[in-house]
């Protein structure tokens, strides 16, 4: 029994040894067979056969030596692995023999996989990743909406919100919040700016966010209770060293004490970059319905959807409107999925990119397929020969499969590298406003999908020679390859691919061209101010620093006088809202003393308090009247300046100077107020782009900053000479000198503000230009590949033509003509598709029609040129055919 076990073990060991050392096993087999033949020959000699005949006879008796060696090898059962190794070696040799083919194929695959994975990854991370909230799909953002006033997503007043919250039928819960900033005194006494969000007490329950340390708000911590604070994980780690004992401690915020009750679990906050949440402790119903300053988030009931919720809240808003016709006329609601809003405008841009990516993937796959088909013509002959020598069909399929897998594998590996670089690159050049960019890593699923598609293409078309072999008989394959012009059907398929590639490339390049033109237009837009040489910084004066309106106005006035005195400073101003900035712009109805407006004109404008130096600092021209100056103080009559859009809309035929606003007092939530209610228009200024470069300028009224007590303002300092950095330091010193507990935030140049407003356009333009270039490159490789191959196939025919006296020019013309025919058909198809799909891009364009003839014409020319160049080399090669050599090939 033991003996038998040993025998079995020995057999296993033997198999493994022979598998690992196949070469040694082969040599042993050789030696054994040699010995056998020698012995047999000797025996035959002894029987009287002549020695040279004996050797031959021994071999005959043995049968086919190689065949039996092969069988013996097979008997070893290690065949599959050995063949695999052999296939790989052979495949690598074949790839190395055609370096151009290999490099082009691998690069095509790599670009297809790399570019697509990188873009998909970014897109998926932005569009498809779940938010870190409980059942995020049920979360919605609630806005007010007023079509007459052109407000689609406006804020809600506390009273309206309170009605929504108690009277709706479709929401499980609803919370309101108000983001602002505050100054937190650190333990060492230095001030730091923090982003605070005031929330209703059920805020965290609505979102489904829990506390990592301590707790979130309880239902008792609503109106009438004491404010308490919850820290973000970021602030807790940055400022408190992630010390759990901070919970229960009291910190100083805006000069007053507040207790910290918890730290939020999730790193990602809502709204983004919040540092601290504080419960709203004021009663909702004592506020005015006019004062729309809160944001709201709601969680839908499980058995309902957003459509039902819209109908529900709209009906509710109508009821509120009927009961309060003064304050709520025309006000309804907008309900949007939280995710839709967070992803926001990026969605359209990303969808365009996604389409571009898919097109590039298609082009890349077509290219790979084409390259492999071209080669299959050549391979078909080699394979027919090998079949004739006895290679099994299954064995050949395995061989070709190995080659294709090697090629695709190489492409995939390089592609993954490119994808990784691509994601880094995209994030590096991505606009800072791209939501949730910190969470983006290379996505495995996406990579698998894209690589899978590319590799599958490679493998499928790598097997093309077998298809050919099955379709034809051996002998014609062997002779065919040597003679005629290759299979016509194969050529047709390839031509089809080239046409498709050209068409797809045209679509991509047209899109890129349109975006470039649109971006140029965007750069040329007159913003109404000069961005160069201006430093901006936000400042928020807390109640503890300046309690009264006068104190606030006085503080800003004193600070700006000091700043104006700094060396190199040309002009200093401030504004509640910076053009193209992120601050809120307040829009309100107004009344004028001597004017009635027809019913269809809703008298409404943006309200913008600015310091006297603002227009000088921005270099916004005053086109009529005067700018604000030191006269326009609290003890003087109210002074207002309107923009040109205001004059165009409301006072087209009148002299605006001297016109008066009445009953125009306004409270900017807790931020401050306009301190007059009657204002006289003293000037008109050039239109300034506030909402965005693409947006039309809307009517606006500017008020003197010396007559409005806005606590939070952005300082605007124009300087000549000196650097922004030294000025920043000087600015900080002056602020500290006036009030040590004040801190500047968001210090940046006006150039940065403007360029941030352009960043998304720049990003998508750049990406599409990259895609367009890539598509152009791939398509020209496709044209070149097919023509070069066709020329190689027709060497014989061309030789005959030239031997019969066709001149070189005619031959060149013929090949060029073939190429350009493909290009022309592709362009025609692409043009039709581009015109048909123009609508997809129109949301991304500014000042350019998606069917802009200049762009399309130019792109057609470029593609024709590229197609011509790609055809030129094969055409030139065709004229180099030596008739004698070509005919001998027959």
């Amino acid at each position: 029994m033991v003996e038998i076990l040993k025998d079995m073990l020995r057999a296993v060991r033997l198999r493994i040894r022979r598998l690992l050392r196949a070469g040694a096993a082969d040599r042993e087999l050789d030696e054994e067979v040699r010995f056998h033949l020698e012995m047999e020959a000797r025996r035959l000699v002894r029987e009287g056969v002549p020695p040279e005949e004996a050797e031959r006879l021994a071999r005959v008796r043995f049968g086919g030596v190689e065949r039996f060696k092969e069988q013996a090898r097979e008997a070893r059962g290690t065949r599959v692995v050995e063949d695999g190794m052999q296939d790989i070696k052979y495949g690598l040799r074949m790839l190395a023999k055609n370096p151009v083919f290999t490099i082009v194929a691998v690069l095509t695959l790599a670009l297809g996989i790399g570019a697509n994975t990188a873009i998909y990854t970014v897109v998926e991370a932005v569009l498809l990743d779940p938010l870190p909230f409980r059942e995020p799909d049920r979360l919605t953002l609630l806005f007010t909406r007023n079509d007459e006033q052109n407000q689609e997503r406006y804020m809600v007043s506390p009273m309206d919100f309170d009605d929504w919250r108690h009277m709706n039928a479709t929401f499980e819960s609803m919370a309101a919040y108000w983001p602002t900033t505050g100054t937190l005194l650190e333990l060492d006494g230095g001030p730091t700016r923090v982003r605070i969000v005031y929330t209703t007490e059920d805020y965290f329950d609505v979102l489904g966010v829990s506390a990592r340390v301590g707790r979130t708000f309880t239902p008792e911590e609503g109106p009438g209770s004491t404010p308490v604070a919850i820290l973000s994980a970021g602030l807790w780690e940055r400022r408190f060293g992630a010390d759990p004992s901070v919970v229960g401690r009291t910190v100083t915020l805006d000069g007053g004490p507040i207790e910290v009750i918890g730290v939020v679990a999730q790193a990602q906050t809502f709204p983004a970059d919040a540092d601290m949440w504080i419960n709203m402790t004021w009663p909702m119903q004592i506020q005015s319905r006019y004062a729309r300053w809160m944001s709201a988030v709601g969680r839908l009931k499980a058995d309902t959807d957003i459509v039902a919720a819209r109908a529900d809240l709209a009906a509710l808003a109508r009821r509120i409107e009927q009961e309060n016709p003064e304050s709520n006329r025309g006000w309804t609601v907008t309900v949007e999925g939280l995710k839709d809003v967070l992803v926001g405008d990026t969605r359209a841009a990303l969808l365009v990119l996604l389409t571009a990516t898919a097109l590039v993937l298609l082009i890349a796959c077509a290219n790979v397929a084409n390259l492999l088909l071209s080669r299959s013509e050549v391979r078909a002959r080699e394979i027919a020969v090998r079949t004739a020598f006895g290679a099994g069909r299954a064995r050949l399929v395995r061989q070709l499969l190995t080659e294709s897998l090697l090629l695709s594998g190489l492409g995939a590996v390089v592609g993954i590298g490119l994808a990784w670089l691509g994601v880094r690159g995209l994030l590096a050049i991505a606009p800072v406003t791209l939501p949730r960019e910190n969470d983006i890593g290379l996505d495995a699923t996406v990579l698998a999908v894209v690589a899978g598609v590319s590799v599958l293409t490679g493998v499928l078309f790598g097997l093309a020679p077998i298809g050919r072999l099955v379709g034809s008989n051996l002998r014609t394959s062997i002779t065919d390859g040597a003679r005629t012009t290759g299979s016509a059907s194969g050529h047709r398929v390839q031509s089809g691919f080239v046409v498709a590639q050209i068409a797809l490339a045209l679509m991509l390049v047209v899109s890129a061209g349109l975006l470039v033109r649109s971006f140029e237009k965007l750069r040329a837009v007159d913003t109404g101010f000069q961005a160069g040489g201006v430093l901006t910084a936000e400042l928020d004066v807390a109640t503890s620093v300046a309690e009264t309106d006068t104190a606030v106005i006085d503080l800003y006035d004193r600070l700006e006088r000091r700043l104006t005195a700094l060396p190199g400073v040309v002009a200093v101003g401030d504004a509640s809202t910076l053009p193209l900035g992120e601050q809120l712009d307040y829009s309100q109805p107004f009344q004028m003393a001597d004017r009635e407006f027809p019913a269809e004109v809703e008298p409404r404008a943006f309200l913008r308090p600015v310091a006297p130096g603002f227009f000088a600092a921005m270099r916004t021209p005053v086109v009529a009247g005067r700018a604000f100056d030191d006269r326009d103080r609290l003890d003087a009559p109210g002074a207002a300046i309107v923009n040109e859009a205001f004059v165009r809309r409301f006072l087209p035929d009148a002299d605006p100077l001297g016109e008066r606003f009445v009953h125009l007092g306004y409270r900017f939530g807790p931020l401050g107020a306009l301190n007059k209610s009657e204002w006289e228009i003293v000037g008109v200024v050039r239109d300034v782009k506030y909402e965005g470069l693409r947006e039309e300028v809307l009517p606006a009224i500017y008020f003197s900053g010396l007559q409005s007590s806005i606590k939070r303002r952005t300082l605007v300092v124009r300087y000549a000479g000196g650097s922004a950095a030294t000025l920043t330091n000087a600015l900080r010193d002056q602020v500290t000198a006036i009030q040590p507990t004040l801190a500047l935030t968001n210090v940046r140049t006006l150039d940065d503000v403007v360029s941030a407003a352009r960043s998304r356009d720049r990003f998508s333009t750049l990406l599409l230009v990259l895609f367009g270039t890539l598509a152009l490159l791939l398509a020209s490789v496709g044209v070149y590949g097919v023509l070069a191959y066709a020329v190689a196939q027709r060497t014989g025919e061309l030789g005959i033509r030239m031997a019969l006296g066709a001149d070189r020019r005619a031959v060149r013309g013929m090949v060029l003509g073939d190429g350009m025919k493909l290009v022309a058909v592709g362009l025609a198809l692409g043009l039709v598709a581009a015109l048909a799909l123009a609508g997809v891009l129109s949301s991304q364009l500014f000042g350019v029609s998606p069917r802009d003839p200049a762009v399309i014409g130019l792109v057609l020319l470029v593609l024709l040129g590229v197609g011509f160049l790609a055809s030129l080399v094969p055409a030139w090669r065709a004229t180099r055919v030596d008739p004698v050599v070509a005919m001998r090939g027959q």
Binding site: D7, G63, A75
Partner: protein
Amino acid sequence: MTRTRADLLQGTLEMLILETLALGEPIHGWGVALRIQRLSADVLQVNQGSLYPALHRLEHKGWIRSEWGTSENNRRAKFYRLTALGRKHLAREREQWELFVGAVHGILHAT
């Protein structure tokens, strides 16, 4: 279970090899071929080439083992011998074979 002719022959060759080796001392491949031919009084012509795949198959099954040695004319040669496992298997094969032969014999002499 149907057996093709090739299977039968292959199986038979393997049995003959085992039988040859069962005589005791190790022999090389050529010796096996020669002996099968001699023992069967030249009735069975072993296709010499097919001997080696059979030998390797048997070795993989663990029924025979091989080692390099020196032949009668002082050449390096591979010698095969039966293992315990092979001996056991041979006994079973032999039994089946005799059963088979007996059955065929019965049929042939039934008329």
